[in-house]
């Protein structure tokens, strides 16, 4: 577990989990635990991903055809379900990222100029 208590971490905004999953998968196929770990590590443990919420999200993305899944073997020789970004998912990621950047920029402008500058 991380040293930071859960209460101090940021809860994910509605809808951002999908974006983070897609982004994580850009580096190649990954299983659920790996995705959760990667999100937590890359955000320098600022983001709290409830692992239980991750799987329904993965399921949803799979049903939309943005990611595909296949059982395989993990690096330490465990059976795990690996997720891969599909072509549609890749396109979606670009779109969502653009949208997100516009959104944060707009919100940043409202909250204060230094947020945009930095």
């Amino acid at each position: 577990m991380s040293t930071q208590p859960d209460e101090e971490r940021l809860e994910l905004l509605q809808g951002t989990l999908d974006l983070l999953i897609l982004r994580t998968l850009i580096f190649g196929p990954q299983h659920g635990q790996g995705i959760a770990r990667a999100i937590q590590d890359t955000s320098e443990k600022e983001l709290l991903v409830e692992h239980g919420a991750l799987y329904p999200a993965l399921q949803r993305l799979e049903e939309r055809g943005w990611i595909s899944a296949k059982w395989g073997t993990s690096s330490n020789n465990r059976k795990a379900r690996f997720y891969t970004l599909t072509a549609v998912g890749r396109k979606q990621l670009v779109e969502e990222t653009t949208k997100w950047n516009r959104l944060t920029k707009a919100i940043g402008r409202i909250l204060g100029s230094e947020a945009v500058e930095s």
Partner: protein, 390 residues
Amino acid sequence: MFGRKRELGDFTSEIEAHIQLESERLQEQGMSERDARAAARRSFGNQMRAAERFYESGRRPGWDHFWQDVRYGARMLRRSPAFGAMAVLTMALGIGATTAIFSVVDATLLHPLPYPQAEQLVSIRDDLPGAGAHDVGMSEPEWQDLQRSGIFEYVSPTWFDENNLTGSSRPERVRILIVAPNYFALLGVKPQLGRAFNPEDHSPGLILEVLISDGLWKRAFGSDPHILDKSVRMDTDLYRIAGVMPAGFDAPGRTAEERNIEVWAATSFYGPPMSDHPPRNGRNLPTAIARLKPGLTMAAAQSRVDALVAALRREFPGDYPAQNAWTVRLLPLKERVVGNVRQSLILLLGAVGLVLLIGCVNVANLWLRGPAPEDAKWPFARPWEPDARG
């Protein structure tokens, strides 16, 4: 969704794998195996909830639950037929009563009266609130005033009577309605045989023609096709039969008695045997119905009637003493017909609705007590014997 549906088992084994991977990672960081596993589970959150969400994402849970309930219900009923019979009987009584009353409400309150443009039909009611008298009827001059007012297409007083009918297969007592000649034109109903009264007829005295009901035609005249040549005697006067009304035609009325009219006679309510010049204050025409001019609303018609009444009271102060405060009210004919039963019908419907509700509660109660599982006991354990079923 489309394609092969993913099995729930596959989903749970994925979660298992996740917890395995996570706890191994934690062990690498130096946690004991037990702590690591517990921590992995904790950070996963609620496994059951995740599995549930997965399960529900691909299905319509309502439908699923419904079938589950149906199967469960059928199983319980099979297991305890006495309980089943009791439940079915209770529900059947409740539903039966509700349906029966509703069919009455539907027929009387929800359906319009069976005449063309029935919403234009009104009942006219004269009141003398100053004298504490209501529904006092109108006089012939007042009828003529209303007729000529331009508010109504037709106005017809109705006068219920009983009479001895002879000239048929055997003499009998019949219910007769004395109306203005425009009565059938007003209702918009034509006879199945012969013709109705001439609505423009304004000759004095009784018109020596009658129309008879389908029932009377069949019963007293054996459905005689040549009925129109015949005459009948009512009390002492001879009347020609001008027509036969269709089967299923009922006069608008509150009671079966008012509806099951067998003979219609017409008059313009003056001339022998009545007065040649009926007095304005002789309220001898008990009730009246009318058809509003097309396009005229009830409210507009009422305000024009009010104006007419005010003018008449000014013109004939002797006949309309101010202290009587004579008023004329228009009511939708439907109101008049269902009037005093509306409230009791609604009450009755509410009551049987409650009976159904109580039935449901009772069945639910029985259910909670539980049908005796092994021994098929009578489902009503007596409450004062708390351990009657162990």
